[in-house]
């Protein structure tokens, strides 16, 4: 079928409950019965849930061929957990596993051979970067990978689209009963938001920590009542790569210029009023927007109600200075935010379900006024691709892109018009991650395009000195600079499905021609 985003979804992927994308709010009021894990009660007196090592935990969980296991990516580039656990599983000869990860990147490259030898046959993840992205793109994974946004992953787990047999949760601290936190210890990651759903919906839950603390380790992100086993290892990750010391403020004139334009757009809308709510990613331009907001808030004498999502130093500082009333944190990006979530009483840890699940009773993304997002490609229908690179290889992650774009009142995409020679604004995106109907404003250094569906925004912004262009004009400008791109050639083989946050299929990704 051709779905609502104009993408052709092969019939073989549309069976039973699996529908093609039908529009961003299609499943509003969708009724479903939540899945539930199959658990074993622990009735008698208990001394501890500690087991010797990961191997013993895997064996006691009864992990078998064909099961599904899960991981989180709070340790980002410093994660050791996935590699450690997968090595044990591989050595035990268990095969045909599906990995349900919140994201996968360079730190997990060690699993590529396990994809090749059939230990892993399925992957559900937000990001599949670097070598894993290449392995999936080249068709080495037996089943097509499923790309899910942060909200989409929680939804899939809670709705039972994917069932986790065993969840492996790396935790900076845990007590012997599995009350686990992202705080304290030697590998502090601030929060454990991605894992909350795993701990509640997996049949078996294993907490892996390098710092055992006295009971109770409260307030706990992962509740001991949900945990089967606790393993102590030497190191769960490389602390230096878990949270960047400081995300450097960009000095790139292009990024700063784009950020300035984006800020001007934001403040020119009617939603920029006292108590406005805001989310931005950790890229150069988005971070700068946070900083640029301050003088405009001064001028209007208003404050931000709360900032959401991945939290960074500029937000922490703004809160300290009294410009933000609360931070809602589901991922701490740097040392400043880790420190703040540990100490500041207005800096709250939230679960990814609270953050972005479209099928609970109202996630925070749906209360957002503004979100600032990046893009690899934007097309004439405002569709955005953040997953597939210019060579057709999967190299990015939707993260909360899809969720926040749909939930916010104003979504602002910031991107350079071209990257080296690759035009960002183009006729048609290689694959759709976020549908154009969720995208309101596109800011490039060559000008700003507003989605014609948002006449209200066009009205608000046209009385400013913001250089407004149509998306076609931006595309023309890009093509004039770099020439018209030739379409990437693909084989027929589908290597990944891009699932929309509500569970429908928004696009499929095929194997780039000639990629081995």
């Amino acid at each position: 079928m051709i779905n609502k985003a104009g993408r052709d979804i092969p019939e073989e992927f549309l069976k039973e409950d699996q529908e093609g994308f039908q529009g961003q709010y299609y499943r509003n009021h969708y009724e479903y019965k939540k899945a539930a894990p199959r658990v074993k009660g622990a009735v008698g007196p208990q001394k501890s849930k500690l087991v010797k090592n990961i191997k013993e935990a895997v064996e006691k969980c009864g992990l078998k061929d064909g099961m599904c296991i899960s991981f989180h990516h709070h340790f980002r580039n410093g994660d050791y957990i996935v590699s450690m656990v997968m090595e044990v599983i591989h050595d035990l000869g268990i095969k045909d596993l599906t990995l349900c990860a919140s994201s996968l990147g360079a730190a997990q490259s060690s699993i590529v051979p396990y994809i090749e030898d059939g230990t892993i046959i399925g992957i559900s993840s937000s990001g599949v970067r670097d070598e894993i992205g290449r392995a999936i793109s080249s068709g080495k994974l037996k089943n097509p990978a499923i790309i899910r946004s942060h909200g989409g992953r929680v939804r899939a787990v809670e709705a039972g689209d994917i069932h986790i047999d065993v969840a492996f949760i790396g935790a900076p601290t845990s007590d012997a009963f599995g009350n686990a936190r992202g705080k304290g210890g030697k590998s502090d990651c601030g929060v454990l938001a991605y894992s909350v759903v795993d701990s509640r919906y997996a049949d078996k839950v294993v907490v892996i920590t390098d710092t055992l603390v006295d009971t109770p380790n409260f307030p706990a992100s992962i509740q001991g009542v949900d945990v089967d086993y606790v393993v102590k290892v030497d190191e769960i990750g490389d602390p230096r790569r878990i949270a960047s010391g400081v995300l450097r403020m960009t000095q790139d004139p292009r990024e700063l210029y784009i950020a300035e334009l984006a800020t001007k757009c934001l403040v020119a809308t009617e939603y920029f009023e006292d108590g406005f709510t805001f989310q931005t990613g950790g890229g150069g331009a988005p971070l700068a927007v946070t900083r640029f907001l301050k003088p405009y808030m001064d001028e209007k004498n208003i404050k931000m109600g709360w900032a959401l999502g991945g939290i960074t130093q500029p937000m922490v500082e703004l809160m300290k200075e009294g410009y933000i009333k609360a931070l809602l944190d589901c991922q701490s990006f740097d040392m400043a935010s880790v420190e703040s979530v540990n100490t500041n009483s207005r800096h709250f840890e939230i679960s990814t379900s609270q953050y972005a699940n479209p099928l609970n009773k109202g996630a925070f993304v749906n209360q957002l006024d503004f979100v600032i997002l990046g893009a690899l490609e934007v097309d004439l229908d405002f569709n955005v691709n953040v997953v597939q690179g210019s060579d057709g290889i999967i190299q990015g992650a939707p993260g909360g892109h899809v969720d926040t774009a749909a939930g916010s009142k104003v979504s602002i995409i910031v991107a350079p018009l071209v990257r080296s020679r690759i035009p960002t604004i183009r006729d048609r995106v290689t694959s759709v991650t976020t549908p154009g109907e969720s995208v309101d404003i596109v800011v490039t250094e060559y000008g700003v395009a507003i989605n014609p569906a948002r006449q209200d925004l066009i009205h608000s912004l046209s009385s400013t000195d913001i250089p407004l262009r149509t998306i076609e004009e931006l595309r023309n400008e890009a093509y004039a600079l770099v020439g018209e791109p030739r379409d990437i050639e693909f084989e027929n083989q589908v290597v990944a499905l891009v699932e929309y946050r509500d569970g429908t299929i928004i696009d499929v990704i095929r194997r780039p021609k000639g990629l081995e």
């Binding site: 000095q251 004139p253 210029y257 250094e445 060559y446």
Partner: protein, 297 residues
């Protein structure tokens, strides 16, 4: 066009591939493609060839392009001039000019190049950078050296060094040079440009410096980073009150010109026909900053 609004002239390293495509988006009044200090010795040939291709193929949407050639004490300037003229730049900025004959010598080479590459003779403007005590002493003579000379610019780095002075944020060490240069430029009827502000993060000093040189009569400033453009343009933007006043002066004077009256009162102040130029300049500046959309200019 020799005389136009040039608040900012932004230097761009011609050698850097990632920079060439879009300097105009930051809105400088003029771009200076640099073959001199920004380009390493061994890459002068490469930068020059890139310069030519940039001039030929890049679309700067009408933003004026100057080329800073290498100094007359180097082996490079002659070929720099040929490449710049062949590519069709709007003008050439000559570094380290010390006397009028330097400009005239470059002019000869430019004429030859214009003929060689079939460019209209006289179409390439020149500007001179004054970078030494001698250059500043000869400022008036240099300003009068050629009909092609659009303006002169102070270049503080070398000037301060050769003065045995020290670069400060208050600018006392270049105050006499600034005064002399703007005086000479005005006397000769050419434009005057202030030196670059090298500390990109020090926005306060840039602002103060720009206010100072604006009040002294300078037309604009050289820029090394796009982030400085908006700050400088802001300083050069007339206030709403100044714009209205300028409008009223022009309207009143035009109306009275027909009657033969040269002096009258606007906003409670005496004005005369000599003020019409200043009033028009105010509106030009306002227009350049998108603050004036009227039809008086």
């Amino acid at each position: 066009m020799k005389n136009r609004i040039r608040r900012t002239m932004m230097f761009l390293n011609t050698q850097r591939a990632s920079l060439v495509k879009d300097p105009y988006v930051y809105g400088p009044d003029c771009v200076i493609l640099d073959l001199e200090d920004a380009v390493a010795e061994g890459e002068k040939d490469s930068a020059r060839i890139q310069l030519f291709n940039t001039l030929k193929y890049a679309d700067y949407h009408g933003v004026e392009i100057f080329v800073r050639i290498n100094g007359l004490d180097t082996p490079y300037y002659k070929e720099d001039i040929r490449a710049s003229v062949a590519g069709g730049c709007n003008g050439i900025r000559i570094p380290k000019v010390e006397q009028a004959s330097d400009v005239q010598y470059v002019e000869e080479l430019v004429v030859a190049a214009e003929k060689e590459f079939d460019r209209e003779v006289g179409s390439t403007m020149l500007m001179a950078a004054l970078e030494s005590p001698l250059a500043v002493m000869n400022a008036y003579e240099i300003c009068k050296s050629s009909r092609r000379l659009m303006g002169v610019a102070l270049s503080a780095g070398d000037f301060v060094r050769t003065m045995h002075a020290k670069r400060t944020t208050h600018g006392a060490e270049i105050f006499s040079a600034r005064s002399q240069i703007v005086l000479a430029a005005r006397a000769a009827g050419v434009m005057a440009f202030d030196t670059v502000h090298t500390d990109i993060d020090d926005v306060e000093t840039l602002k103060r410096d720009t206010e100072l040189i604006r009040d002294m009569g300078f037309d604009g400033k050289s820029v090394i980073n796009p982030r400085q453009i908006a700050i400088i343009h802001d300083v050069f933007t007339p206030s709403e009150k100044e714009i209205r006043h300028a409008e009223r002066i022009i309207i009143a004077l035009e109306k009275n010109k027909k009657k033969g009256v040269g002096v009258l009162v606007v906003d409670g102040k005496m004005v005369d026909v000599a003020m019409i130029e200043g009033a028009k300049r105010t509106l030009e500046l306002a227009k350049a900053s998108n603050k004036y959309r009227g039809s008086l200019i």
